[in-house]
C-alpha cells in the first residue's frame, strides 16, 4: 500500500516525535517476548511495551486530528516511511543484550517522567489528559528499570561489565531527548532543556547505588527528530508495517 504524506505543522511534528518514540521503543521491547531471561521479566517488558503502545495510540489519534487530513492512527503508524518518522535514534537501535534494553528503558524513563509531569499542566487539554495517564505508567517503568540498573551494575563482574558497556554505548544518544520544541508551540509542551536537572539527579542517584560512572559530556548523536535515521529503523518498519502494506485495511 502506498505511503501517505503527512501535512506537517510544528504541533503535528512534535506529537509524532513522542508517538514515534513510544511506538518504536514498544516494538524493540516486544522483541523480548518469549526471550527474556526469566518469565517475570518477559511479562514485565511486554507490559511496559503495552503501556508505550497505548501512549503512542493516544498521541497518534491526536496528531491525526490536528493534521485534519482524514488520516487515522493506523495510517500514521503503518503508512509512513522511515524518513517521515520523528523518533529519537536511541529507540531504533537494535535491542542488544538485556543490559542495553534496561539502560535504554532507564534513560528514556528518566527523561519522560519529568516530561509527562510537566505536560500535565499544558494549556492544551488533550496533551494534559494523555500526560496524566502516561505519567503514572512511566513511574512504574522508571522504578523497574532503575532497580535492574542497580542489580546489574552492582551484581557480578559480568553483569557490571555489560551494564557499563551499555551505558557507554547509549549515553551519546541521550542528548537528542532534550531537543528544543519549535518556538510556535513551545508553550504547549515541556521545555526539554529544563528537565535536565531531574534527569541528572535520577542518573546520579541510581548510578551511585549501581556503582556505575556517568559518562563525560561529549559528542551527542542526533538526526531522528528531522527524519535522518540509522539503517535499523527501515528494517524494523519492514517487519512492523508488512501486514498493513500487503493487506491494506486488514483488521482483526
Amino acid at each position: 500500500m502506498t505511503s501517505i504524506a503527512v501535512a506537517a505543522s510544528p504541533l503535528v511534528e512534535a506529537l509524532l516525535a513522542r508517538a514515534d518514540d513510544a511506538l518504536v521503543h514498544a516494538h524493540r521491547l516486544s522483541e523480548w517476548c518469549g526471550h527474556a531471561p526469566m518469565l517475570e521479566e518477559d511479562l514485565a517488558l511486554a507490559n511496559v511495551a503495552l503501556d508505550l503502545l497505548g501512549q503512542a495510540r493516544s498521541l497518534y489519534q491526536y496528531a491525526a486530528e490536528v493534521e485534519g487530513a482524514g488520516h487515522g492512527e493506523d495510517d500514521l503508524a503503518y503508512r509512513r516511511d522511515a524518513p517521515q518518522f520523528r523518533n529519537a535514534l536511541i529507540f531504533e537501535l537494535p535491542r542488544g543484550d538485556f543490559a542495553e534494553t534496561i539502560a535504554r528503558l532507564f534513560f528514556s524513563s528518566a527523561v519522560m517522567l519529568p516530561w509527562w509531569q510537566a505536560a500535565m499542566t499544558s494549556p492544551d487539554a488533550r496533551i494534559a489528559a494523555i500526560a496524566a495517564k502516561a505519567e503514572k505508567e512511566i513511574t512504574y517503568h522508571l522504578r523497574h528499570a532503575g532497580e535492574w540498573m542497580i542489580r546489574l551494575g552492582d551484581g557480578t563482574d559480568e553483569s557490571h561489565a555489560r551494564m557499563a558497556a551499555a551505558v557507554a554505548k547509549l549515553w551519546p544518544y541521550t542528548g537528542e531527548l532534550f531537543a528544543a520544541e519549535h518556538e510556535t508551540i513551545a508553550a504547549l509542551l515541556p521545555d526539554a532543556a529544563a528537565l535536565r536537572p531531574a534527569f541528572e539527579a535520577t542518573v546520579a542517584r541510581v548510578f551511585a547505588e549501581a556503582g556505575l560512572e556517568r559518562p563525560r559530556a561529549g559528542w551527542m548523536q542526533k538526526g531522528g527528530r528531522r527524519g535522518v535515521h540509522t539503517e535499523h529503523l527501515g528494517h524494523m518498519l519492514a517487519v512492523m508495517q508488512h501486514l498493513q502494506r500487503a493487506y491494506p485495511g486488514a483488521v482483526w
Binding site: E40, L43, V48, D51, G54, A132, K133
Partner: protein, 164 residues
C-alpha cells in the same frame, strides 16, 4: 421523575453491569471505568475511561456496553473513551475490592499512595489467608493492572491490583 431520568438510571445500571473481560468478577461500575451516561437527541452516550493507556480490554468493554444496551432496548448507543480525569484505583468501590479479594486478587491500597521511586512496598495481605508475610515477585503481572506476589505463610502466589 421524568422519563429521561428513569432511562438514565436504567442505562447506567445496564452499562455498569458489564464486566471486565480479564477480571470477570468486577463490573465496570465497581472498577470505576464507567464515567458518565447521557441521552441527547434520543441517542445514548456512554463515557468509559481506560485503567492503563494500552489496556486491551477497552475495545471489548465498549462492544459489550453497546450490546448490553441494545439488548435492554437502547440500540445504537455510542461509547466514548475519555482520558481525563485519569483513572485511579481510588475509584474502585468497596464492593469491587471485596470481589477482587474473593477472586484471589489483592485489592489496591485504599488510597492511591505514590511511594518513593525506590521505597518500600505497602503491606499487601495475602488474599487467601490474610497473612502479611508476603513479598513482591514482579512489578508486572498477567495484565497491565496487576503485579505478581507470593505469600510465605500459605505459599500461594497471587496477583495484586496495582495502585495507580
Amino acid at each position: 421523575m421524568s422519563v429521561v431520568t428513569l432511562d438514565l438510571a436504567r442505562i447506567r445500571a445496564v452499562a455498569g453491569a458489564v464486566v471486565d473481560p480479564e477480571i470477570p468478577v468486577l463490573t465496570i461500575a465497581d472498577l470505576g471505568v464507567l464515567r458518565d451516561v447521557r441521552v441527547s437527541d434520543g441517542a445514548v452516550e456512554v463515557d468509559i475511561t481506560p485503567t492503563y493507556s494500552g489496556c486491551p480490554a477497552m475495545n471489548v468493554i465498549a462492544f459489550e456496553v453497546e450490546a448490553a444496551l441494545a439488548a435492554a432496548g437502547f440500540p445504537g448507543a455510542r461509547v466514548r473513551l475519555v482520558l481525563s480525569p485519569a483513572w485511579t484505583t481510588d475509584w474502585m468501590t468497596q464492593a469491587g475490592r471485596d470481589a477482587l479479594r474473593g477472586y484471589g486478587i489483592a485489592p489496591p491500597a485504599a488510597r492511591a499512595g505514590r511511594r518513593a521511586l525506590f521505597g518500600a512496598d505497602d503491606d499487601t495481605p495475602c488474599p487467601r489467608c490474610g497473612s502479611l508475610a508476603t513479598e513482591k515477585l514482579s512489578e508486572f503481572g498477567s495484565t497491565a493492572c496487576k503485579a505478581l506476589w507470593r505469600c510465605t505463610a500459605c505459599r500461594e502466589p497471587f496477583d495484586q491490583f496495582k495502585c495507580l
